[in-house]
Amino acid sequence: MKFSLTEEQEMLKKTARDFLSEKCPRAFVRQTEESEVGYSRDLWQEMAELGWMGLAFPEEYGGGGMSFLDLAVLLEEMGRACLPGPFFSTVVLGGLTIQDAGSMEQRQRYLPPAIRGESILSMALYEPDVRHYDAPPITVEATPDGEGYRLSGTTVFVPDAHLSDHLLCVTSTGPEDGIAIFAVDAGSAGISYSPLSTIGGDKLFEVSLDRVSVPRSNMLAGPDRGRRTVQKALERAAVARCCEVVGNMQRVLDMTVDYARERKQFDRPIGSFQVIQHYCAEMATDVDGARFCSYRAAWMLSKGLPCSSEVAIAKVWTGEASRRVLDRAHQIHGAIGVTMEHDLHFYTRRAKAAELVFGGADYHRETVAREMRL
């Protein structure tokens, strides 16, 4: 048991912090969020050169052979920087799902280009009735058609669909069959996208599939393990998002403490008022709590240990703690913090969006209850 980072992880963290503070300043985040594409090609290439996309993939596909826990360190820094773009979609949703469920041939086909920064991936996890996403009534249908399948249906909240080269789609192969996952070429005829406007400022889409033709060789997981694959993808996504939120929260705490030291009222720094100090102390506790339960879940995932409960605990705590932290941060910043000029809103909006995806607190509390055998 050891709660500090390894030397290698410290180095990764520092590289990421330095790189992102140079290349991803707030002005860049602002500008990118407002743009339609929502990312920078140049930055994406530089990230690929740093080996970030490949970090957690085996070396045989051009990856860095590091673990999901190492990836967590990087995700925390990305959350801290509010990095816009399709990293999460490509690596966490797309790449790791292919790594988990795909055949050797499929991995060989999709992973190396993604790792080189030449291809962008995403996953369509949600259907319009998303409240029951753990056992979803899958309505996207995959109907056998000659040598392959035809996919039809609607999915929502698909991140970065407009940039993606391949979309992983969760489908139903028939009333009895359960679910199968396909990698769909995004340029296929019959796919259409409409953007959604979101509180978090990330690029989410409604994606409609109308008799999209997909060869059989694009099936990543058949009905025998489709559901389990989706479940694992959701667990990874929940934890990865938690790690980003940890970075978000840590940055908000740092900003708030700095502000409390500098801002003077009644001839003294507001940080010398005990009530402000106690708010900050509570924030720090929330942040460290979020960090440890998120990293513990990441550690368990990287060890391949069963961790439904730990994942759920991380998601419940991180969501609710980030809300408390941002609430206090706004209170301490006063009016300047609720303007668009100030940076705080980036964190507030993103944290709230993160709370709602991959299962909210009530959903995950129910998982915890089940794991307690209640």
């Binding site: 048991m1 940080g271 709590g289």
Partner: protein
């Protein structure tokens, strides 16, 4: 980062568990809340010492085992899980022994550490006074030099476990003219010395938890001064970091947690979504507290003294204990009010006992407010008020 334990550590946990289960099977004691501070059981302490589990992290030459902080974490976690009556040795094992080891003379180390480890020397903590609670540096008990002795006069209060302690770790003023932080010294005071008297005090649960200690010209030999004269306040701050460091803060009422979950299952309440949600939320909060506590151990294992880290863990965890007791009472409904001795009492009355008792744990060893001050100033570097 590594959240796992080694094979050897897992085996040690198993060993502790089998020992405790055997203890319960043989009817030596029943799991109880707060037994780490209220469970007086010299025979149990002796059996624990026979296994080398008191002072286990101290060097062998002083009766310790040279084991790691992680092993001690495992041991204490299991003691707390089973609600074992470990009060006789808890303070000495957790903090006084460490204080002697860090600051005491060679003679003191040889005199006390092996006896603590053998389960023969129980310690109480003589810090607080009627006028000196959070502001401990304002304490008034005096220690005046007289030849080879210090003569102590004054009063200590809230001394937990005083009625069975053999010794007290006492802080007294040795320089009344110095600024208040710089005139305090630390002593080991034998409980049987002439002039020292104890008057017991009953806490809100009805337990005789503390005593007032009265010092009337108590003569303490100079060799029982721990560390440097007038450095006592700095030594106590160090000791408090350890006092706040353990899992007893999150697991003091763990037996109630297990019992209320079991009760929920056995009484058909599992289907109630509100009950499920409340218990699951407790589980989330418990796990966070446990991780904050583990982090403190990880800091110690790296050879550092945990400061704001243990303040954070203790402040968070003692508030959790209150919520746990409250949820348990809510689930029990009107039966939640039945005290341990009552007819019809569920869960041996642990819920109301803990509900009342947990009010004190967010005060002792630094109140939640003081701990937030520590965290803000030392952890976050906010300016003094």
């Amino acid at each position: 980062m590594d959240f796992g334990f080694t094979e050897e550590q897992n085996r040690f946990r198993e060993e502790v568990r089998s020992f405790l289960e055997e203890e319960i099977r043989e009817g030596h004691w029943q799991p109880a809340c707060d037994a780490w501070i209220q469970g007086f059981d010299p025979a149990f302490t002796r059996r624990v010492s026979e296994r080398g589990w008191i002072g286990m992290i101290w060097p062998r030459e002083y009766g310790g085992q040279g084991r790691s902080h992680i092993d001690r974490l495992i041991l204490t976690e299991e003691m707390l899980r089973y609600g074992a009556p470990a009060a006789c040795h808890w303070f000495a094992d957790r903090q006084v022994g460490g204080a002697i080891l860090s600051f005491g003379s060679e003679e003191l180390k040889r005199e006390f550490l092996p006896r603590i480890a053998r389960g023969e020397a129980y310690f109480g903590l003589g810090m607080s006074e009627p006028g000196a609670g959070s502001d401990l540096a304002s304490l008034q008990t005096r220690a005046v030099e007289d030849g080879d002795y210090y003569v102590l006069d004054g009063q200590k209060t809230w001394t937990s476990c005083a009625y069975f302690a053999h010794y007290f770790d006492v802080y007294a003023r040795t320089d009344p003219d110095a600024p208040k932080h710089r005139g305090i010294s630390e002593f080991i005071v034998d409980a049987t010395l002439p002039g020292l008297s104890r008057i017991p005090m009953t806490d809100i649960t009805g337990t005789e938890a503390w005593s007032d200690l009265f010092f009337d010209s108590v003569r303490v030999h100079k060799k029982y001064l721990i560390g440097e004269k007038n450095r006592g306040f700095y030594q106590v701050l160090h000791q408090l970091d350890y006092e706040r460091s353990g899992l007893e803060r999150i697991m003091g009422n763990y037996p109630l947690f297990e019992a209320i979950v079991q009760f929920t299952k056995e009484n058909g309440l599992s289907g109630d979504p509100l009950v499920r949600s409340k218990l699951a939320q407790l589980q989330v909060e418990f796990e966070v507290g446990r991780l904050l506590g583990y982090r403190v151990t990880s800091v110690m294992e790296e050879g550092r003294t945990p400061n704001w880290e243990s303040a954070m863990s203790k402040a968070y965890s003692t508030e959790f204990e209150k919520r746990l007791a409250n949820v348990a009472m809510e689930i029990l409904g009107p039966y939640g009010q039945l005290m341990p001795e009552s007819r019809l009492v569920p869960l041996r009355g642990m819920a109301p006992h803990s509900y009342l008792g947990s009010k004190g744990y967010s005060l002792q060893a630094g109140t939640t407010e003081i701990l937030r001050n520590v965290l803000a100033a030392r952890g976050l570097g906010l300016p003094g008020s």
